[in-house]
Amino acid sequence: MSPYIELTNLQVCLAAILIVINGVVSIVLRLRLEKTLAIASVRTVVQLSLVGVVLSWVFRVDRWYVVLAIAAVMTLIAGFSAADRSKRKFPGIRLIAITSVWSCAWILTGYVLLFVFQDLPKWYEPQYAIPLLGMVLGNTLNGISVGLSTLTETLVRSRGQVETLIALGATRWEAAGEPIREAVRTGMIPIVNSMMVVGVVSLPGMMTGQVISGMDPAQAVRYQIVIMFLIAGATALGTVSVVLLSVRRLFDVNHRFKFELIRTTGSS
């Protein structure tokens, strides 16, 4: 017998009743969210089912190049979304976001796979590599997009201060020092906060999943600790990287602030 209860489609449908509550709330309070809710629910089912299919296939095929290809697609999507979430954009923002997501997520996930887990049967073991990378991407994406938004926002808002310092002989790093610190700090706050309350206020999804699937809670906790540190490290590295690369892009070699590059878009 499996250590966990296998869910049938019928049982998932029983859970779907719960989402009906949202629909009722929306109709009663006239929130006009019904349509969005319906779309979101369908997307949840479709996207996750697709991921299930893809993951089963990747596990079955079990080749390093398939794992790397899937990982690359996940990374690109994360990079694009990080750049697109920023309200203010500039030419090259996507390349910078992708470079940052890619380097920090892969280096740190690689470190955990090779040096923390050590005796994996294969270095690319998809059962570990893909979920781990997925969690790292999902979280660093936040840090990176928040860092990026805060940087551009702060630079635009404090253009006067930045140019004053430049006019007094500051380098771009000196002139943008405060916006840089502000952006990195804001990007790192969410992960630091969740490390503060983890286990007390919230039980992390991955740990919950492992406990349900029959893992010893003490082991699940160890996994969770590794994950938290991995996410924290990747977020810090990714945020610093995206902020520094953006500053390099937004100032020229004469330490001139290329304010004209920053465009405001309507999207949120």
């Binding site: 006067g160 430049i166 006019a167 007094l168 002989g169 500051a170 070699v253 330490h255 001139r256 602030f257």
Partner: protein, 227 residues
């Protein structure tokens, strides 16, 4: 060539979105020059000044500092000697003294130190005492903030000041204070220093400048001396 030429702008042009905002402008600034830049709004005065401070790029033309083109790795050194002062001073967190100390944390001014006595002495000429240094910079009036901006610049003994309508947003009294600070800095070494003063006010231009350049549609229209 005149060895006393500090700053030379040679055939500077700047176009943005197909519109020529600065058209082939050439000017020399010699040591001791007190040059006024006048002309209608949008004639390119501010843009020219910002280009001279390397705060705007040019599409063509050259900028020479003491006969040498300003190289990329020299920009901060250049700006520490040719200081641009904004029309409106940006507000910073902290006290006036913190703000005045800012430039000494920059690499370009390494080895130099904040001289509080000198500042207090300067403040006396604009009817402020040492208590002014403890005020919060963000709470200063426009005139006071502009006085701080000027003191912050001239305490670094720059060779050239680029003044972008430094008094246009100020009342008469504050404007006179700003003028007196600049005159005192200039008077300390009139054979070595120079400034360019963008002004809307013809009587001020006559008062603080020896020669005037009138700009129109991105071009220099007229050069003259004041009486």
């Amino acid at each position: 060539m005149n060895p006393d030429v500090l700053l030379q702008a040679v055939n500077l042009s700047r176009r943005i979105a197909g519109k020529t905002l600065l058209d082939d402008v050439t000017l020399d600034l010699t040591a001791g020059a007190r040059l006024g830049l006048v002309g209608p709004t949008g004639s390119g005065k501010s843009l020219l000044l910002r280009i001279l401070a390397l705060l705007e790029p040019v599409d063509s033309g050259d900028l020479l500092w003491q006969q040498t083109s300003v190289a990329n790795d020299q920009a901060t050194i250049y700006r520490s000697q040719v200081i641009y002062v904004h029309q409106r001073a940006a507000a910073f967190e902290g006290t006036v003294e913190t703000v005045l100390r800012q430039p000494f944390q920059l690499k370009a001014h390494r080895g130099r130190h904040f001289d509080r006595d000198w500042i207090v002495d300067q403040l006396a000429t604009v009817a402020r005492d040492a208590a002014f240094l403890d005020q919060h910079h963000e709470q200063l009036s426009g005139g006071e903030a502009q006085i701080v901006a000027l003191l912050r610049a001239i305490q670094l003994s720059p060779r050239v000041l680029l003044l972008d309508e430094p008094t246009s947003a100020l009342d008469r009294q504050s404007a006179r204070h700003v003028e007196s600070i600049v005159m005192r800095w200039y008077g300390d070494a009139p054979d070595r220093r120079a400034y360019i003063w963008v002004s809307h006010d013809p009587s001020q231009a006559d008062r603080v400048c020896d020669s005037l350049i009138t700009m129109h549609s991105g071009q220099i229209q007229r050069r003259q001396t004041t009486e």
